[in-house]
């Protein structure tokens, strides 16, 4: 396994990747939407770095999760907040980590209940592979393969830091 990058490096990679993708697609005024909880911390920082003046949106996907029929409703659901109209907008959707892809499916289903965006770009700090759905990030700060005992955990929001945890620790 390659070593986990530090948080600043991960953010740099993600920022640079998004900048070139936005330039390549000719997207001038995108809006950011973070997926709760880690995704909104990252979206907050990226908004400043990319110079996006519109406040970022916050998405809580609890009502769209596909494991409702297995574990019930998340008791700590909080309201989603999108402080702009998504109709026809270019959206950068941000999460801290992508693995199965199920969170992103839920997030996109939710987004479409607000309107029809022009496009969605997916950015994550880390791509852990282990996909269960055909969903891929457009930009990831780092791709990483973990062994069965390892987990990554983003802590924040201030300071934002990333930890590699070994099971049993």
């Amino acid at each position: 396994m390659s070593a986990l990058l530090g948080i600043d490096q991960l953010l740099d990679e993600l920022e640079n990747g998004l900048r070139s993708l936005l330039a390549q697609r000719g997207i001038a005024s995108p809006v950011l939407i973070g997926i709760r909880t880690g995704g909104i911390w990252v979206a907050d920082i990226l908004g400043k770095r990319l110079g996006i003046e519109e406040p970022f949106g916050e998405l809580d996907i609890s009502f769209y999760r596909d494991d409702f029929s297995r574990i019930g409703l998340n008791p700590k659901v909080t309201p989603s907040r999108l402080p702009f109209d998504t109709e026809g907008r270019d959206i950068i959707l941000i999460d801290d980590v992508i693995m199965s892809g199920r969170t992103i499916r839920a997030a996109m289903n939710e987004l479409f209940d607000y309107g029809r965006p022009a496009s969605i770009i997916l950015g994550t700090l880390i791509d852990l592979g282990a996909r269960e759905l055909p969903i891929q990030p457009d930009v990831a700060g780092q791709s990483l393969v973990l062994n069965a005992q390892q987990r990554v955990k983003l802590r924040g929001p201030d300071p934002l830091r990333i930890e590699l945890q070994e099971a049993g620790q």
């Binding site: 409702f68 297995r70 409703l73 700590k76």
Partner: protein, 340 residues
């Protein structure tokens, strides 16, 4: 606490403490009540979207089983279920098979055979939803939409949501509940919720003939004089005079009642200047409340209706979720033992 206060909880909650039926507020702790309010807050946001629907109950069937007439409660339950993407069947029992002699148990068996996942029950008999929850097939959730004089827990919770929105919380709040306490299942559930959520004082204000005998034991003080009862309160909840439940002469006249206990602008002026005015509806203008107050700046009566949809979405999705999680858990255990 009454001796059987633990029993509804045994029925209402899973082993993990998730809601699986919603029958009464008795025995439900502050944390769970707060979870219901927080979940409802998220559903309010859903109600403001272009598409006011979430997929939680997609493919599930909800039956509104109303043995008593209701407009507001039934229509908000129906809308709540539809916004959760459920299929909804409304059964007005007065026009259904029970009037042809079918028993309650037979009606339920037939409805269960239609693969219903949830019954929303209103019944004139106290304890009817509890009875149904005990006998229904495992996996089917029962929601109490008002039973006799016992409880109306979704109404009380939508009132708590309304109070929290306007007052920020419950600490230090003084609340007056005015009018026909005797016949009111709403008042019982409200007193219970306000105490559990930490309100400083709950006063009931009514003539002695419209108070149940043991009313203080519910967790409130009693005031017979409206002027004293209104003094300094942050919230006043007016109750509807339930003429259809009156047996014998409990009141001299509606006019006399209005003079003594109706909420006029003069009486409202005795409350805290930021006092909000609530009423579960339907309102009898000029009987419990002056029109100028019902339509005035301190009235939050229409907010209550909007909040009713969000609260009902919250308890329906939480109870269905609890049932599904429980079923999943049983299935995993059977699989582990190699029985499936």
């Amino acid at each position: 606490m009454t001796a059987n206060a633990a029993s509804p909880n045994h029925l209402q909650l899973t082993r993990e403490g998730q809601l699986r039926h919603f029958l009464t507020l008795d025995g439900l702790g502050r944390e769970l009540l707060t979870d219901i309010l927080d979940t409802a807050d998220s559903f309010i946001e859903v109600g403001e979207r272009t598409i006011k629907k979430v997929p939680l109950l997609r493919g599930r069937t909800v039956v509104n089983l109303f043995f008593e007439p209701s407009t507001r409660t039934r229509s908000t339950f129906e809308l709540a279920a539809k916004r959760l993407s459920a299929d909804v069947l409304n059964l007005d029992i007065n026009t259904s098979a029970t009037s042809k002699g079918e028993s309650l148990s037979d009606t339920l068996l037939n409805l269960e055979a239609m693969a219903s996942d949830m019954f929303v029950v209103r019944h004139a008999q106290s304890g009817a939803p509890h009875f149904i929850a005990q006998s229904v097939t495992p996996g089917v959730a029962i929601i109490n939409a008002g039973d006799g004089r016992h409880a109306h827990p979704t109404q009380a919770m939508l009132d708590m949501l309304t109070i929290r929105q306007h007052k920020g919380g419950f600490e230090g709040l003084k609340v007056a509940i005015v009018g026909d306490i005797l016949h009111s299942r709403v008042a019982r559930s409200q007193i219970r919720a306000l105490n559990e959520l930490g309100a400083e004082q709950v006063r009931v204000v009514a003539p002695g003939t419209l108070l149940p005998r043991d009313v203080e034991s519910l967790g409130c003080t009693v005031e017979y004089d409206m002027a004293k009862g209104m003094k300094g309160v942050d919230v006043v909840i007016m109750l509807r005079l339930q003429n259809e439940r009156m047996e014998g002469a409990l009141l001299p006249s509606e006019r006399e009642f209005y003079r003594l206990y109706g909420l006029s602008q003069e009486k409202l002026a005795l409350a805290h200047p930021d006092c909000i005015v609530m009423h579960p509806g339907p309102i009898n203008r000029g009987v419990e409340i002056e029109s100028a107050v019902a339509d005035g700046p301190q009235s939050v009566i229409l907010n209550q209706v909007t909040n009713g949809i969000a609260i009902r979405m919250a308890v329906m999705s939480m109870a269905m979720g609890g049932q599904l999680a429980e079923r999943q858990k049983k299935m995993s255990k059977l699989t582990e033992r190699g029985l499936v």
